[in-house]
């Protein structure tokens, strides 16, 4: 707690609320059949992206996942462009080409989300390599899930980041399931973080529902990486309140389990904490939410009123044309 100040804490709360509100609205749009395809919500996991990304410099990079709305918003993504992308509009982050699963903003340092689980890890590692080669002072924060931790690319990348002492932090968002597959069944050790031992680097498992714990742990790892001491593997234990995606019937977990975890809602916990220490009045809180609701409203309106990409632009962006600007 002492590593943060009041202003920062309030901004953390605001971002978590924004992510929550954003995804609740996204779900509504989905239910109204305005969103084509699938969508992966991170409701319940907001403390991880917020705590982690607040521990970065603006110029640092992140690599996201298929469940990446929180990452993009925590990295100051534009929710107008995000909503527009969900609706497949030309004004969306990817001009309607990518959709929910592929939101990226390279200017903000979000190197993007791949829909191929585990495939983003080597790419993040390559970004860290480039940072080191160009003597930049930045760090790459690589998000991935407990399921991704079983893909070969996870270990291979961790090994390369270690032997090359790259400025990278590997952050596993362990929400207990890979789709319907429980981590307790597919990860034989108590923690994903235990896998750090295979490479002799620090591995830390923390409470991913505690935004301050995430912030402090990632901050230490980022400093370690930035000062040239190589990567750290962090596992944030969290939980996905909603189904994996639209097709999920939640047959693989009990209502009790979900309820149990909802008691640890990271936003509720943090709000209470701030109220206990008298940093947040109910009025301030309501005000925060109202402002956010307005922002959401504006974002949806922008998306709704935006044009679709013209059909004759179908093949635009397949290849980088000669001399064209990035």
């Amino acid at each position: 707690m002492h590593t943060t100040d009041k202003k920062l804490r309030k901004e953390m709360l605001r971002k978590m609320l924004l992510i929550r509100a954003f995804e609740e609205e996204a779900e509504k749009l989905f239910m109204r059949n305005l969103v084509h395809g699938t969508m992966h919500l991170s409701i319940g996991e907001e403390a991880v992206p917020v705590g982690a990304i607040f521990a970065l410099h603006k110029s640092d990079y992140i690599s996201s996942t298929h469940r990446g709305h929180g990452h993009m918003i925590a990295k100051d993504g534009d929710i107008k462009k995000m909503f527009a992308e969900f609706l497949g509009k030309e004004t969306g982050y990817c001009h309607g080409r990518g959709g929910s699963m592929h939101i990226a903003d390279f200017k903000l340092g979000n190197l993007g989300a791949t829909g191929i689980v585990g495939a983003g890890i080597p790419i993040a590692t390559g970004a860290a390599l480039a940072v080191k080669m160009r003597r930049e002072n930045n760090v790459v924060l690589c998000f991935f899930g407990d399921g991704a931790a079983n893909e070969g690319t996870f270990y291979e990348s961790l090994n390369m980041a270690t032997i090359w002492t790259l400025p990278e932090v590997f952050l596993c968002e362990n929400n207990q399931y890979a789709m319907s597959s429980p981590a307790r069944k597919f990860i034989p050790t108590p923690n994903v973080a235990d896998r750090a031992a295979a490479f002799g680097i620090p591995g830390v498992a923390i409470d991913g529902m505690d935004v301050i714990a995430v912030y402090e742990t990632v901050k230490a790892a980022v400093e370690r990486a930035r000062s040239g001491n190589g990567p750290t593997l962090i596992e944030a234990k969290t939980y996905r309140f909603k189904g994996h995606s639209k097709s999920d019937k939640n047959l693989y977990r009990t209502k009790e389990e979900i309820e149990m975890w909802k008691k640890k809602d990271p936003i509720m916990l943090f709000k209470n904490r701030l109220q206990e220490i008298g940093e947040l009045s109910e009025e301030e809180f309501q005000k925060l939410k109202e402002d956010i609701d307005k922002e959401i409203e504006g974002g949806v309106k922008f998306a709704m009123e935006s044009p679709e990409p013209p059909v004759d632009s179908l093949t635009k962006y397949v290849y980088a044309e000669e001399g064209e600007e990035k």
Binding site: R97, G115, A178, L251, V318
Partner: protein, 328 residues
């Protein structure tokens, strides 16, 4: 005859073979209580248990190899790859191991392995979850590739695939899963490597597989005074060209329709095997192909629809060919 969905046909083939042959088992991600991403294995866990409905960690590269190793010892694994796009992870095990192990060891071993994967666009899942992969492994000897267009073929071909002693890639189309068709009540098989005329015609031969057979049939209703003959190749590899050659001798024109990207798609192989055959001598028109646009599948619904052949574009192409508007 009973009328069931393509999805149910796939399910029945697996269940019936698993009841009949203890060496058959299904492995893949989330195929247990979840029933698989597309619900194919719904209920199988209850009947067969967690050993024969083997849920795997997210390790496609290796669990494909696990299937091969089990096949080497005489099991008959069915490996489900959740989306055909992820076959990139299976690439080494499938093409460098499964396809070559028998040959490299001088025939010492058989690999009775089936890899099932749902392919295709139209679900708004964007570039990494929508690819048609029928041509991806066409250049690899030692394997077979099957892509059924309807429920009856899906069940009959999947059973034949499970009984085949070679590594087989069995491609199911996501948009066909809920389409219905007539399926015999009694035991039957559809042989691998046999194409089929699904509509008799006189003016042009249309060759297609999987969803493009359905769209080509739909295109017929949009035609004015043109009667195409439509051939469903059903097996991509090995390709059965005889019926195509016979048909061309009658229609004198050929159009190959496929969902995969135009460049490097299955059209090339089909056309080349016809262009070198005696059928060439019967052609009254250049040989045309209508494939997907060379673009990663876009997310936007409208762009996505326009990126692959639709009944309208197929009908338009057929008309242009028959009316000899070749290079208009």
């Amino acid at each position: 005859m009973s009328i069931i969905t393509y999805k149910e046909a796939v399910r029945q083939a697996i269940v019936e073979k698993m009841r009949e042959d203890k060496s058959v088992f299904l492995m893949g991600e989330d195929i247990g209580v979840y029933g698989g991403a597309f619900g194919i294995s719904m209920g199988m866990l209850e009947e067969f248990g967690s050993e024969r409905i083997l849920e795997t960690p997210m390790s496609e590269a290796s669990f494909t190899g696990v299937g091969i190793g089990a096949a080497v010892l005489g099991m008959r694994p069915i490996v489900e790859i959740m989306f055909a796009d992820f076959l990139t992870f299976s690439a080494d095990q499938f093409t460098n191991q499964a396809a070559k192990l028998r040959y490299m060891t001088g025939g010492q071993v058989k690999i009775p392995l089936v890899i099932r994967a749902p392919e295709g666009s139209g679900t708004g899942a964007a570039a990494q979850h929508s690819q048609n992969v029928e041509a991806w492994f066409l250049n690899i000897p030692g394997i077979k590739i099957v892509a059924p267009s309807n429920a009856c073929d899906a069940k009959g071909l999947l059973k034949s695939s499970i009984e085949d002693d070679n590594p087989i890639l069995f491609l199911e189309h996501k948009l066909l899963y809920n389409t219905k068709g007539e399926v015999p009540e009694e035991e039957y098989r559809v042989p691998i490597g046999k194409s089929k005329i699904v509509k008799e015609g006189t003016d042009i031969t249309i060759v297609a597989a999987s969803i493009m057979v359905k769209r080509s049939l739909e295109a017929v209703n949009l035609l004015k005074g043109i009667r195409p003959e439509i051939i469903d190749i059903r097996t991509i590899k090995p390709l059965d060209t005889e019926p195509i050659i016979r048909s061309i001798k009658k229609t004198h024109r050929l159009l190959v329709v496929y969902e995969g990207c135009l460049t490097g798609g299955i059209g090339g192989e089909i056309i080349a095997s016809i262009a070198e055959s005696e059928a060439f001598l019967y052609l009254d028109a250049p040989i045309f192909r209508l494939g997907g646009t060379d673009v990663p599948i876009p997310y936007n619904r409208n762009l996505e629809k326009h990126s692959v052949p639709q009944p309208e574009s197929i009908a338009k192409k057929i008309t242009e060919i028959v009316e000899e508007k070749w290079y208009a």
